[in-house]
């Protein structure tokens, strides 16, 4: 790269900014500010590859800043760096901020360097179009929707949202889902993270890794900050919704996911923006094993086709 990538840091503690600046100054063109408004102003007037924001700030929260940044500068890869892992912030950063990574303070310099480098590379090689609106509705209807739901409540809710049952694939077990996926992965997958089969976050993570163009909508009880953070960093879930979500809410999330999927179809390089981190742990050995089997079969098939 001839010109250095531009990175913008926002935090209300100037010592944090100094620390980050001194760390990254030698690699990137670093700009920093304690003022979120000023940060937005900078985004309006100059191009930045990566934006890293704190969550709790006096005038504006990090999520608010990232949401606006998404509008002003969709190309800029967004990250949250925070000492407060409160649930509202995490959920907001997914649904509103569509962030690339959620990083906790205190951070590890090595990891932060690696993450930032990844973000910069992605920002340099892909560019997000300004609005999703350019996608034609007919493209959306071609998209396929799958739901993994043992009890049937989620499936019913989707049908209530006036989804055509013929378009909707309903799987009642992980096994069924993995069999179905082998033939054709859906555009959008709706699932809970804890089903009758236990914690299936390993599955959600693994599928995103394998099928980055598939968008995941996760329904959850919103209790576990750590799990939600993993769902950002290691599964790049597209939206999280409360278990109590209404049919309308679910439908609009599905619509948004379809639109995004159509966009990814058109500009496949964009899927790089959903690159996931290597999972930090195995939550459920049984699910992991099933996933492993699925990946093996998939490879075997790909090899025989090649």
């Amino acid at each position: 790269m001839t010109t250095r990538a531009r990175v913008l840091f926002v935090d209300d503690d100037e010592r944090i900014l100094r620390s980050l600046t001194l760390l990254f100054r030698s690699r990137y063109d670093v700009t920093s500010t304690v003022d979120a408004q000023e940060a937005l102003e900078k985004l309006r007037h100059g191009q930045f590859h990566v934006l890293v924001s704190d969550q709790r700030m006096p005038a504006m929260t990090g999520v608010e800043l990232l949401r606006e940044a998404r509008e002003i500068a969709p190309d800029t890869v967004r990250m949250l760096l925070t000492g407060y892992s409160d649930l509202a912030a995490i959920v907001g950063s997914i649904n509103e901020g569509e962030i690339f990574r959620f990083i906790n303070k205190p951070w590890d310099v090595g990891n932060l360097q690696a993450t930032l480098q990844q973000a910069v590379e992605i920002a340099c090689t892909t560019s997000a179009p300004k609005a999703d609106g350019i996608i034609d509705i007919t493209e959306k209807t071609l998209a396929r929707l799958a739901v993994l739901d043992t009890e049937g409540g989620l499936h019913r809710l989707l049908l209530q949202g006036s989804y055509d049952a013929s378009q909707l694939r309903h799987y009642t077990s992980v096994k069924q889902l993995l069999e179905g996926l082998q033939h054709a992965p859906p555009a959008v997958l709706v699932t809970d993270v804890t089903t009758a089969e236990g914690d299936i976050s390993d599955l959600v993570k693994g599928l995103k890794r394998e099928h980055p163009e598939m968008l995941t909508l996760v329904v959850t009880a919103f209790q576990d900050a750590k799990l939600l953070t993993e769902l950002i960093n290691e599964a790049q879930v597209y939206r999280v919704l409360p278990r109590t979500a209404s049919a309308t809410l679910l439908r609009s999330a599905v619509e948004a996911a379809f639109t995004r999927h159509a966009l990814l179809q058109r500009l496949p390089s964009l899927t790089r923006r959903y690159t996931v981190d290597t999972p930090s742990r195995t939550a459920n050995a049984g699910i992991s094993a099933q996933l492993g089997g699925y990946l093996q079969r998939l490879r075997a098939r790909q090899n025989s086709l090649a």
Binding site: D13, L22, L81, K105, P106, W107
Partner: protein, 430 residues
């Protein structure tokens, strides 16, 4: 339910046509040895009773046995004996019997199912049954009492754990920011140190080259050039960066030390009463701990007079202030203000904590200090916060009042007397 059926003594009944003599003989027989009265039954239905007492009186008359001995007992029987349903409860039976019984005790009562004779019951057995039951009840009550106390203690414990948890979470978050740059700076300093080390090595190499007679001019030139890039006037000077990194790191460590120190003060478990406590210090310490609730969202306005020190249990008062701050923060949606006033009055020190949150509806205002009163969803509030505040203030011989208006805000006002006795608190302490 326990019934008096347990008391039934199924003694054979007699008829009204048994003679007085026959009854006298029966009363002497083993079957009726303990009976005070005999049931008189016709066609299964009790029609009367005759007491041992009556029979004896007949026989005690002069020529009583001769005159009345052959008469049917029906002539002398009590035609309205005490009849109790066998399926009545012990209480009902006792009530019925006690209403009718004559003293001294001369009779038993008849037990019946509907109109059918079942057997006889003795008043004394009924009494002892009643007593056993009372004992069982009072034991059950005592047990229930123990259980209630235990579960209350548990609730209070869980409230304390919850507020401790909240506090720890808040403080952990507070610490994460300085910890972020302290750790980051040290790691960055390590990286810079590597650069400095290379510079130092280049200097050493240069010196060695200069001092070694065998160094060729080309070698020397190379060494000078290398040292020049690393150490020359254009080379970056990392020492200033290192100064900044270390100064910030030290500042961060100071911040963390401060927070941890406050936390320690705060959770002192000894509950020791201290003299000469400055209430303002207490409030500041609670504010530091509660900072994460309030930070950025709630502007804290201090209106503190310099006040005389008082004797109190600081760790408990800390808890009061923290609870009130937490409530205020929870009552404020979005941004708001918290006004804290400390004034000296003749009776003691007045502390007012006022927020501009949603306020408390008038119909529940006088219940907010009740234990378990909460308007927060299950799992979020135990409703013990204010009741604990109330108890602590009372133990300090003080008083706490609330004023509130919906949509305007809420003010808690605490008066802590100078002469507040605090010994009582140790034994009563929660």
């Amino acid at each position: 339910m326990e019934t008096v059926r347990a008391l039934v003594n199924p003694v054979p009944s007699i008829t009204p046509y048994h003679t007085v003599n026959e009854v006298g003989d029966l009363l002497l027989s083993d079957v009726y040895r303990d009976a005070l009265s005999l049931p008189i039954v016709e066609a299964g239905k009790p029609v009367g009773a005759i007491t041992r007492h009556t029979v004896m009186r007949i026989f005690l008359n002069r020529f009583g046995r001769e005159i009345f001995g052959d008469n049917p007992v029906g002539k002398f029987m009590d035609r309205e004996p005490i009849i109790v349903q066998a399926n009545s409860s012990i209480e009902t039976a006792s009530q019925q019997v006690s209403e009718r019984i004559r003293l001294p005790l001369t009779e038993d009562f008849i037990l019946a199912d509907g109109e059918q004779y079942v057997g006889m019951g003795a008043v004394l057995s009924l009494l002892s049954l009643l007593q056993t039951q009372l004992e069982q009840r009072s034991q059950a009550l005592a047990e229930a009492n123990v259980r209630i106390r235990a579960s209350q203690a548990q609730l209070i414990q869980s409230e304390k754990m919850a507020s401790l948890g909240q506090m720890v979470a808040g403080v952990a978050h507070e610490i994460n920011t300085p910890l972020g740059y302290v750790g980051g700076n040290l790691q960055t300093a390590q990286l810079l140190l590597e650069d400095l080390r290379q510079g130092q090595q280049a200097g050493r190499d240069l010196l060695a080259a200069l001092l070694a007679p065998a160094t060729s001019p080309e070698q020397l030139e190379q060494t000078v050039a290398h040292a020049g890039t690393l150490l020359g006037a254009d080379a970056p000077d990392f020492t200033a960066d290192l100064d900044t990194l270390f100064a910030d790191a030290l500042y961060g460590v100071e911040q963390i030390t401060d927070l941890v120190g406050n936390l320690k003060d705060f959770s002192r478990l000894d509950r020791a009463a201290s003299e000469n406590v400055d209430i303002v210090d207490c409030i500041e310490s609670a504010l530091k701990i509660g900072h994460s609730h309030l930070k950025h969202r709630v502007e804290v306005v201090r209106d503190f007079d310099a006040v005389r020190p008082i004797s109190c249990i600081p760790s408990q008062l800390n808890q009061v202030f923290l609870n009130l701050f937490a409530n205020a923060a929870q009552a404020i949606e979005g941004k708001g203000k918290l006004l804290i006033r400390v004034k000296e009055e003749t009776a003691g020190i007045r502390i007012q904590i006022q927020d501009n949150g949603r306020g408390i509806p008038p119909d529940v205002l006088d219940r907010v200090f009740d234990p378990f009163f909460t308007t927060k969803p299950v799992g979020q509030g135990t409703g013990l916060g204010l009741s604990i505040c109330y108890q602590i203030v009372q133990q300090h011989k003080g008083r706490i009042d609330v004023w509130s208006r919906e949509g305007v805000g809420t003010r808690f006002s605490i008066l802590l007397p100078f002469t507040g006795e605090t010994q009582a608190t140790v034994e009563q302490a929660l």
